[in-house]
């Protein structure tokens, strides 16, 4: 199997006179990476650059040596992104939302598989309930289910445990740990306890700059 490597070369993102990312350089290999930093550090900006929601002002991001933006849909096929601000069409129920995203991610999912997916995130009993009535935690769990649909090689999660109860947090961390062997998982949070004993590497970001990288649980 081709070695998976996500490389950031001097990635900078500026908004008028604000530098959200400043010369960010790093190479990520399969494993869990925690992005730690205060609010406004540039974590979300970095994640959105990887997810191609925004583009850097300068620099490049390569996956397996190829520019991710040049790859286009091919790269989007192997990534999954869960943003910090999560929402869904309020008139759709959980099953319909999953089905909708399965179609967008080009994943064939029958009814049984949808049920199983919802079961994995403890949402089976709410599958027919309209998501407009979901709590923040329920939406987060649905978001997690969606990000795992296409079995991505790169998983980008922005504050994934926000709104989850302690039991769900443990469950979620276990899920990530099981998946991390051959996947690049990038987890952004400002809560240290979310990534201790989970992340293989922790990247400290402040004012758009990579301040330090330390080994995590190993």
């Amino acid at each position: 199997m081709e070695k998976r490597e996500l490389t950031f070369n001097n990635v900078t993102k500026k908004y008028k006179d604000i530098t959200a990312l400043d010369d960010f350089t790093a190479t990520l290999e399969p494993g869990i990476y925690g992005l730690l930093g205060p609010n406004g550090a540039g974590k979300s900006t970095l994640m959105k650059c990887i997810a191609d929601i925004i583009r850097p002002t300068s620099g490049s991001i390569l996956y397996n040596g190829k520019d991710i933006y040049a790859q286009g849909a091919k790269f989007r096929n192997i990534i999954s992104f869960m943003p910090q601000d999560l929402g869904f069409y309020p008139s759709f129920n959980a099953m319909e939302i999953l089905h909708y995203f399965a179609l967008l991610k080009n994943v064939k999912l029958d009814k049984e598989q949808i049920n199983q997916t919802l079961d994995n995130v403890n949402l089976s009993e709410y599958k027919k309930k309209k998501v407009g009535g979901f709590s923040g935690g329920m939406k987060r769990r649905l978001g997690i289910a969606i990000t795992l649909l296409n079995d991505p090689e790169i998983l980008i999660l922005d504050e994934p445990t926000a709104g989850l109860d302690p039991e769900e947090r443990v469950r979620f961390k276990q899920l990530l740990a099981d998946m991390s062997k051959d996947r690049i998982i990038i987890l952004a949070t400002h809560i240290v306890s979310d990534i201790e004993n989970l992340a293989d590497n922790i990247l400290f970001i402040k004012k758009g700059k990579l301040i330090d990288t330390i080994k995590g649980r190993d």
């Binding site: 908004y15 959200a20 979300s44 900006t45 959105k48 997810a51 191609d52 929601i53 925004i54 583009r55 849909a73 989007r76 096929n77 990534i79 999954s80 992104f81 869960m82 943003p83 601000d85 999560l86 929402g87 869904f88 069409y89 309020p90 008139s91 319909e96 089905h99 909708y100 995203f101 179609l103 967008l104 991610k105 080009n106 978001g143 969606i146 296409n150």
Partner: protein
């Protein structure tokens, strides 16, 4: 293939929401109110007298029609020419008061009938002129149908409804905070835009037909169906129409053109939103594009006028200046919008 149909179905579900359906029903009710409040056209002749003349000569032109017209012309000529003489005779006591009153009664009646008869004469002359082109025009009571056909222009209420519904569809991802999950998916960009365009076109077609049927039913309710098979050229106002259509075919053609341009408008809405990504600005731009041709209508000449008549949807103008130019303009606009939507770089969603 199944996935595109499934996605189209889900997008249609968003479009055919309860809210949109209720708004459409309100729109139809508003049309009923406007229909009932719209004043009838004021004519400078009596519609009743006109109707009586039509009853006399209804049907194709025959020798009897010629005879009747000549007889009426003579009646009017004699009455008006005798007026002075009767006045003189009465003043000289050569006729009685009763005789004088009878004559005046006939005179007033004739004066009341003359404007309607003049209208019939115009129609008669027109019929004689076109009969030489191997057409067989028919006399029938055409005032109401003529008014209705003249009123078939752009459906402003429907255009407004369409703009708002589709704009909200396009903005829904951002409003629901879903755009950051959708955009990074493999089909979350150009593919999804095209799916939404197809869904919006289907929505427009269905609601466009329903809106047209609503109007047509209002007309039928008041006027019945007897006119529908009449040849359009039997209505003088529409005599310059290029096409040999019945009244019903003409109505279908105009509604069809109206729906066609609604579909083109959908593409324009999509294109505008792709570049502007802002509801208020997009609505403003689309309304400007839609209604500018109306403002400068009289200034536009020649080929451009023919093309833009489709937007104004003045049925007479479209069908008398060759509908091909209008349809061609619409198709070209649609294709350009489609190409730009898919291949032009768009404004990225900002991180704010």
């Amino acid at each position: 293939m199944n996935s595109i149909f499934s996605l189209i179905k889900m997008e249609l579900r968003k479009l055919f929401s309860l809210r949109n359906s209720l708004i459409f029903i309100a729109l139809l009710l508003l049309k009923v109110v406007i229909w009932n409040m719209t004043p009838y056209t004021e004519y400078d002749f009596s519609k009743e007298v006109y109707g009586k003349y039509i009853d006399e000569i209804s049907g194709e032109m025959t020798a009897d029609t010629d005879t009747f017209i000549e007889k009426e012309e003579r009646r009017f000529d004699e009455l008006f020419s005798k007026q002075e003489e009767i006045e003189r005779k009465y003043n000289n006591d050569e006729i009685t008061l009763d005789e004088y009153s009878d004559f005046n009664f006939e005179l007033v009646k004739a004066q009341n009938e003359l404007p309607a008869f003049n209208e019939i004469m115009l129609k008669y002359e027109y019929f004689k002129a076109i009969s030489s082109d191997s057409k067989s025009p028919i006399f029938f009571y055409d005032l109401d149908i003529s008014e209705y056909l003249s009123s078939l222009k752009i459906d402003y209420l429907f255009v407004v409804f369409l703009v708002f519904v589709i704009m909200f569809l396009l903005a829904q991802d951002k409003d629901s905070n879903m755009h950051e999950m959708i955009t990074p998916t493999i089909k979350g960009r150009g593919y999804l835009i095209n799916v939404r365009l197809i869904s919006s076109l289907i929505f427009t077609l269905i609601f466009g037909v329903m809106s047209a049927c609503g109007e047509f039913l209002l007309f039928l309710n008041e006027n019945g169906t007897s006119y529908l098979n009449m040849k359009l050229y039997s209505i003088e106002k529409f005599g310059s129409c290029d096409y040999n259509l019945t009244v019903f075919q003409y109505i279908i053609a105009v509604y069809g053109i109206r729906i066609f341009w609604s579909l083109v408008l959908v593409a324009i809405i999509f294109l505008t939103y792709k570049f502007v990504k802002n509801n208020i600005s997009s609505i403003f731009i689309v309304f400007t594009i839609t209604f500018i041709p109306l403002l400068f209508d009289s200034m536009i000449k020649g080929v451009c006028r023919n093309a833009l008549m489709g937007i104004q949807l003045s049925g007479v103008s479209v069908l008398e200046n060759s509908v091909h130019m209008s349809l061609l303009a619409g198709i070209v606009t649609f294709l350009i919008a489609l190409a730009l939507m898919n291949y032009a770089p768009s404004k990225r969603i900002r991180n704010r």
